[in-house]
């Protein structure tokens, strides 16, 4: 109730107008909380409870089944590769878009967002038309691990580019010039001046790409093939367990996948904060 009062710097008002200043008051807060709970929290809580239906032992049994372990391992392995490739390719693309001038740059810049706008199943079909049977370049990748990597690189392309790009635009060019005039080479300048400034946002972009990659389904479902213990990723495993009516298995692997995503995002955020303190310190 007192929010408007606090924000007005303690100016006293008639009580009727207290929350009239743009805020939504306790009623709005209640509505928002109820909405978020019903749409997001309640379903996820149902997954958590169902995964523990058979106690911790049942949970462990579900996620230690050989095909579940294989699916989780492939998912994490492929996602790590995708995150690392994105760190390099994304920084390179952002660099070229900020520091280089060439005709058609605006079109290329708009093209970066395409994977966000394109439905994931279309991404799968698109890659299939190039790397599938009848491949025009004679490179058939269907149902192989490289196919998973290509599909995930396609859908995660914008994350790193779009987090690094604004920082590069605002980067301090004078420090670079000063370093150059003192005789530093390009690599030294990049490593000691540009990279530290980029690192915080680069890590967050990589984290988002990784989180997206481990949960991805639509883009890998056609080109990945979903062969158990070979190219079946965790999301495909979950969908299959729901289909064959093994809800506890599906719930346990879902929770594991969520925990991996949160752990990675948390560690990357800690690293980013440490870097930020280091930079400012």
């Amino acid at each position: 109730m007192g929010t408007a009062l606090v924000q007005a710097g303690g100016v006293r008002r008639r009580p009727r107008r207290r929350t009239a200043a743009g805020g939504v008051g306790p009623l709005g807060l209640g509505v928002a909380t109820l909405w978020l709970s019903l749409i997001v929290l309640l379903p996820l809580a149902a997954v958590l409870v169902r995964s523990l239906e058979g106690g911790p032992a049942g949970f462990w049994e579900a996620i230690s089944a050989p095909s579940a372990v294989a699916a989780l391992r492939i998912t994490v392995l492929v996602s790590v590769i995708v995150a690392v490739v994105n760190a390099f390719a994304g920084t390179l693309i952002a660099w070229v878009l900020v520091r280089d001038e060439f005709p058609g740059k605006r079109v290329v810049n708009a093209l970066i967002d395409l994977p966000f706008a394109l439905p994931t199943i279309v991404a799968s079909i698109v890659l299939l038309s190039l790397y599938g049977p009848r491949s025009p370049i004679g490179l058939e990748l269907v149902a192989t691990k490289p196919a998973l990597v290509v599909a995930l690189l396609f859908v995660t392309l914008p994350f790193v580019v779009r987090s690094v790009q604004p920082v590069l635009m605002e980067a301090d060019r004078e420090a670079e010039q000063a370093a150059a005039s003192l005789g530093a080479g390009n690599w030294t300048i990049f490593r000691l001046i540009i990279l530290p400034a980029l690192l915080t946002t680069l890590l967050s972009g990589v984290g988002l790409a990784f989180a997206r990659a481990i949960g991805e389904f639509g883009s890998v479902v056609l080109i990945g093939g979903g062969i158990p213990r070979d190219t079946e990723v965790a999301s495909q495993y979950i969908a299959k367990q729901i289909e064959i009516d093994r809800p506890v298995n599906a719930a346990a692997v879902s929770i594991t996948l969520l925990l991996i995503a949160f752990a990675v995002l948390f560690v990357l955020r800690l690293l980013a904060q440490r870097n930020l303190r280091h930079e400012q310190g």
Binding site: A4, G23, L29, L36, R99, T120, V122, S129, P247
Partner: protein, 268 residues
């Protein structure tokens, strides 16, 4: 940092080459495959009853999801931007949660909640079918698109501050008047951007829907599910390409709107 012409050229080649191989060539390829037999063949695949029903259902879902997301998204953004309450960080985290949750897990969670044996499974027994029908598909789509409006509007609210709102309130404007005359006009481009993202994601959602929807042609099959079913069940590769090209056309329109709105937003 002074780059030699050779260094700059090679970095440019490398970056553009990566984009061409990953994005441009595959996109060209699907256009070529779709239209290699002429426009009429493409149109035959798009104008089938199943395909028209799928497009219609996709649009119905968008028409339900967007208004709900706008209303509740605005309330949430206002509560987060203007309120100081305990647990604000938790609410922020919940808003971001759908970004970190796999669409398949979204679908699975709805089955576990609303399906037989779930906490709210009684709703279906009472005759209101959620899973394998429209309400389930709408719930899944709302889940995955929930953050967009909040995340696009909240920073704008912070930026504009609440001085004008305070002034309007002092001059006797009601809460609704303040919102429609002061707040809404200043957040309109951010809101529009959030709506575009919501529409694009709603049209393109697949993973959550394939788990929740029955996928019955003409009944519970959206455009994305049609692409999948034509490819897997019907072995109709050309039909799948054609439907995917329709979705791709929608994505290109979205991209265009995003670019235009971004410019408006920066100019504002």
């Amino acid at each position: 940092m002074r780059q030699t012409a050779a260094a700059r050229l090679s970095l440019r080649t490398l970056a553009l080459g990566y984009l061409v191989c990953l994005l441009v060539v595959p996109l060209m390829m699907i256009f070529f495959r779709t239209f290699e037999d002429g426009f009429a063949a493409f149109w035959d695949q798009v104008a089938t009853p199943a395909s028209i029903a799928a497009i219609y259902l996709s649009l119905v879902i968008v028409a339900i999801v967007v208004p709900l997301n706008v209303v509740f998204g605005l309330v949430t953004a206002l509560a987060l931007a203007r309120g100081r309450f305990p647990g604000r960080g938790v609410v922020q985290a919940i808003v971001d949660l759908p970004f970190a949750v796999s669409p398949v897990i979204v679908g699975a969670s709805l089955i576990l909640l609303w399906g037989a044996g779930g906490w709210l499974g009684g709703v279906a027994e009472a005759g209101f079918q959620v899973i394998f029908s429209l309400p389930g598909m709408v719930l899944a789509t709302i889940f995955v698109t929930l953050p967009f409006v909040v995340r696009e509007v909240e920073p704008v609210l912070h930026e504009i501050g609440d001085e004008q709102e305070q002034a309007a309130a002092t001059l006797g404007a009601s809460r609704l008047q303040t919102f429609f005359r002061i707040t809404l006009p200043s957040i309109r481009w951010g809101l529009a951007y959030g709506v575009v993202l919501t529409v694009a994601r709603a049209l393109g959602e697949f993973g959550a829907l394939i788990v929740v929807a029955g996928g019955v042609p003409g009944e519970s099959q959206t455009l994305t599910l049609l692409v999948h079913s034509r490819f897997i069940d019907d072995q109709n590769t050309f039909g799948a390409y054609a439907a995917a090209t329709v979705l791709m056309g929608m994505a290109l329109v979205t991209l265009l709107l995003m670019t235009v709105l971004n410019r408006k937003r920066e100019a504002a």
